[in-house]
Amino acid sequence: MAERTSTFQTDAEPDRDDRITRSRRELYRERLDLFVLTPLRVIWSDWRTRVGSLIILVWVFLGTVGYWLVSEPFPGDGPRMEPAFQSLEFPLGTTIRGESVFALVVQATPAMLVMITAGAVFSVAIATLVGTVSGYKGGRVDRALTVVTDIAMTIPGLPLIILLAALIEPTHPVTVGIVLTINAWAGLARAIRSQVLTLRDHSYVEASRIMGVPTRRIVVDDILPNIMPYVLVNFVQSARGVIFGSVALYYLGVLPFSNENWGVMLNDAYDSFGVFTSWETAHWILAPMFAVVTLSFGLILFAQGTERLFNPRIRARHAETIDEDNMEGHR
């Protein structure tokens, strides 16, 4: 995308008076089209991203609007262990204490979403920073960062997280998210480093270097835009990692039960009935399982499709803009 922005800039300069004559509104419309509508169209054109983003949107909806609509479940709200799909009041049945299973799933969603976002942002930010600096700078800095990355990559994540969770007992969803991705950044950092290695010798990067552009600017302007697609795909992947990890650790009871979480539900249902002894009690344990699997399926579909979205060759084929003449004239 660096190529894109740079061509945009060089092309735009001669048209300066043309730009002045055009209204501000037109400019905004063009930007909206380029940065919002076109990606949306590309997302919609691939069935994977379409289905994936719909699933994610449903969960975001449940976690925001649904959270306010569905009232907090209390023991004794309904009959005990009502099976699923019996009444509208308890669509997914009730627990052994008479709480609505659906309400439990929905009430756990916001904390899940916060945790997922925090973990994904943390791991991707660290990975991008370490990967680009290490790959671009080379030499001693690279060697030092590679050693750190390799160590972080070698330490098995889940046992380390379990130890940390036992030591610091994190309760806030943001802290939990960060603890869960404490070394998840390493694999991505290494992958980004090898991408940057191929980019650092491109002619336009070399040109910037000869012109004496400071390293920080080269990394931000020339290198980063090219690896952003890759980073975004991995953002989704590490979000999935946070879901898997958090549910596992809440299920095992390693993380303190301060927030409702699908793993807490799993644990609760498992402690009451074992895995499932009969189909009458199965809904309680199947509901959180279904939640985990659908959300991570949505994320995987999205990630798989996004690779197409960011592949420039495919993108060019798909991206129609609303006003082609305008774009042509501008060019």
Partner: protein, 338 residues
């Protein structure tokens, strides 16, 4: 070769050293510190408050190789030298030396994980290659969706469902343990078969939920390689199709998967904790979790250290064999610094 080997070995040694230091720091950061922890454990077992400072430090010395009265740097050196001698302290919960517990637990985990990793990768690679060969066909589209779906099921959820259906409902597999209770651990065929029978469900959980990801990566790599010019050239030159498939496409599609193999080794060892707990499979992961629940810090740190050591060894093996397949990795370090 020898320089590369040396570099890899020193890297592995340094990683081990770093992890040992991390466990030391963790023991120091136990809420209240090691002394409080030992005092609490002593009070729990003896039930009175009359514990002398000398007793506390003596027990801390024995269980964690740390004497809280020593200055920090002395503690560190003591701790490290004990670790290097293979003395991992003493578990308070199981009242046994940590290394003894680990020595009898580790083989089970290694057995489980090496089979699971091997199966996941071989099945995933074969499936991915077939998918790439039949790109765009109904089989390809179908298996792609199935692979993505399997990849979105956490292995522990699959494990729970497998226990419910395959173990309880159909009674095909045992739901827990690593060998039949009361069986004589002898080198007999029936014992060996029983062990495999007990390991089937945990292995199945890892393989089924893991192979989709491997297959998708392999498919992507293979399709990309098929599109390269040198494949067309080979075709035009009349290189036999089978040779193109194995030597040209297969090899070049497999090489990038090396990193994902390395990451998945670490991942599998991490996953062992959850799986072994679900199946009550008394491997190293099961002990780690027992130790966490009992706040048995010496065993916790020991198990963590040994799991890491196992990962280091596996990655080292992967690294060294990789350089045999791809000579390029040895000459990676010749870049200019900017």
């Amino acid at each position: 070769m020898s320089r590369y080997l040396l570099k890899r070995l020193s890297m592995a040694a340094f990683t081990l050293y770093a992890v040992m230091t991390i466990t030391f720091v963790m023991i120091q950061s136990i809420p209240g510190g090691p002394e409080d922890y030992i005092r609490a454990q002593l009070m729990q077992s003896r039930g009175d408050g009359s514990i002398s400072m000398a007793q506390v430090s003596q027990l801390a010395e024995r269980s964690m190789n740390i004497n809280p009265t020593d200055p920090m740097h002395v503690q560190y050196v003591e701790y490290m030298s004990h670790m290097l001698r293979g003395d991992l302290g003493e578990s308070l919960h199981f009242a046994a030396p940590v290394d003894e517990i680990i020595v009898q637990a580790m083989p089970w985990t290694l057995f489980l994980l090496s089979i699971a990793t091997l199966l996941t990768f071989s099945a995933g690679i074969v499936l991915g290659a077939i998918m790439a060969y039949l790109e765009g066909s109904r089989f390809d589209v179908g298996t792609t969706v199935v692979s993505m779906f399997l990849n979105s099921i956490p292995y522990y959820i699959f494990a729970l469902l497998a226990i419910a259906v395959l173990a309880y409902d159909w009674g095909l597999f045992p739901a827990s343990g690593h060998h039949p209770t009361g069986a004589d651990p002898a080198l007999s065929l029936s014992y060996f078969l029983a062990v495999i029978h007990h390991a089937s469900l945990p292995i199945l959980s890892l393989v089924i939920t893991g192979l989709g990801g491997v297959a998708l990566t392999m498919r992507g790599n293979a399709i990309q390689v098929i599109g390269e010019d040198y494949i067309r050239v080979a075709n035009l030159r009349g290189v036999p199709g089978r040779q193109i498939a194995t030597r040209y496409v297969g090899r070049n599609a497999l090489l990038p998967m090396y990193t994902s193999l390395m990451i998945s080794i670490g991942f599998m060892f991490g996953g062992a904790v959850v799986l072994e707990e679900i199946f009550a499979y008394e491997g190293i992961g099961w002990y780690l979790l027992e130790a966490v629940n009992a706040r048995d810090y010496p065993l916790m740190m020991g198990a963590f250290l040994i799991i890491t050591l196992a990962v280091i060894v596996f990655i080292l093996i992967a690294d060294l064999t990789y350089s045999k397949i791809d000579p390029r990795v040895e000459q990676e370090d010749s870049r200019e610094a900017y």
